[in-house]
Symmetry: C2
Subunit: 220 residues, 2 copies
């Protein structure tokens, strides 16, 4: 079983500091919601983001959406060999049941995440998605993996294929992929840093490379 963690994801409700910014107020009104109920989104809150610390990387639900759609629809997940978690910059953890069929439409996904921030579980009966407070270290402690790998530009260079082969040597490895557009992890975690390519890659590209190469070694 591979444990995939999208860590330090730039997924959050609009922070208090910019809730009265025109770009936020108008966006919320247009969507029939209150400013404290909507996700921060760099596409729509660009000018307000400048007022926030780390503003140039925040408000990226799209990255989480892409990583999850690729992971949940992967062959590895269909074979029951994958668990996916989203950890956020504010130390929330989203647990996702493997059978979850996420909305393909981005706007519906955003609505779902907003509902999750409010209710902490959606749908409330099935709890396909569940949100709890927790740090990346706490999540790892809970999972108890026999190997922790952090996908990192400055990690040990390994080809994606060799990395997939290496992962198969573990019983339940955890692979950590940054859920942010650029820069470094905010969380500090012990593990082996791995670089699968000479240039930075998008988070969802790393997810694809890791899952498909692991699957190729494990199953075929």
């Amino acid at each position: 079983m591979l444990h995939l963690i999208i860590a330090d994801s730039e997924l959050e409700l609009v922070p208090e500091k910019i809730r009265d910014h025109p770009s936020v107020v108008n966006y919320a009104k247009r969507r029939g919601k209150k400013p404290d109920e909507v996700l921060l989104d760099s596409t729509y809150h660009h000018s307000a983001l400048r007022l926030l610390e780390d503003g140039e990387r925040r408000g990226r639900p799209d990255i989480v959406h892409l990583c999850l759609l690729n992971a949940l629809e992967s062959i590895l997940n269909k074979e029951g060999k994958l668990r996916v978690y989203v950890h956020t910059r504010n130390n929330e953890i989203i647990y996702i049941k493997p059978e979850t069929r996420l909305p393909r439409n981005y706007n519906r996904f955003v609505g779902l995440m907003e509902s999750l921030f409010k209710k902490k579980a959606v749908p409330e009966d099935l709890e396909l998605l569940k949100m709890e407070e927790g740090t990346l270290s706490e999540l790892l402690e809970e999972i108890g993996p026999d190997g922790v790998f952090i996908m990192h530009e400055n990690g040990t260079p390994v080809t994606p294929k060799k990395f997939g082969e290496r992962l198969v040597g573990y019983n339940s490895p955890a692979v950590i992929v940054g859920g942010f557009p650029h820069g470094d992890f905010l969380s500090v975690v012990e593990g082996e840093k791995i670089s699968i390519y000479k240039e930075p890659l998008m988070a969802w590209t790393i997810v694809n490379e890791v899952l498909v190469n692991y699957e190729a070694s494990l199953l075929w």
Copy 2:
């Protein structure tokens, strides 16, 4: 060089027949556009789609978006070994330059496609994306691949890994993936039908499996 074709994609402007449907009129007004300028989108035009032939599969720009984001950000593309084309149900072909950085945000992608349907090239000077009329057969004739593979539920069963290895035996193979949610290809094309999994897979999952396994055999 691998030629990836997302074929019979459910990407089109709202057809004339339903341009006066309330769901379309309101959607266009909300976006400050005319009904004949907006993409058909099953998320928003669900009730109108029932009035169209094949309505249950049409209006899926999200599938094209996901396939393209995965393909263009893949290691294979960064290595200069990939060309991507989108062929639509109405026999248009979109040529995409490998260096294109597509909008990550779905709504921006939709706006870009609407602009492409109108202007036939975006941006008009660089022509990163260019749209021309053409069938799938005409596209294949133009590419001149030395192997044509159609990813199909009822194809010859091959593991994704073995398929990647097979592709490397060709100089410039074409791989055709259906850009629709379910059902069969509309276009008739000669080629070897390949099935990489026992169950149907999402179009973007097939894209990931093909590109990563080909890359693993070709590069590492």
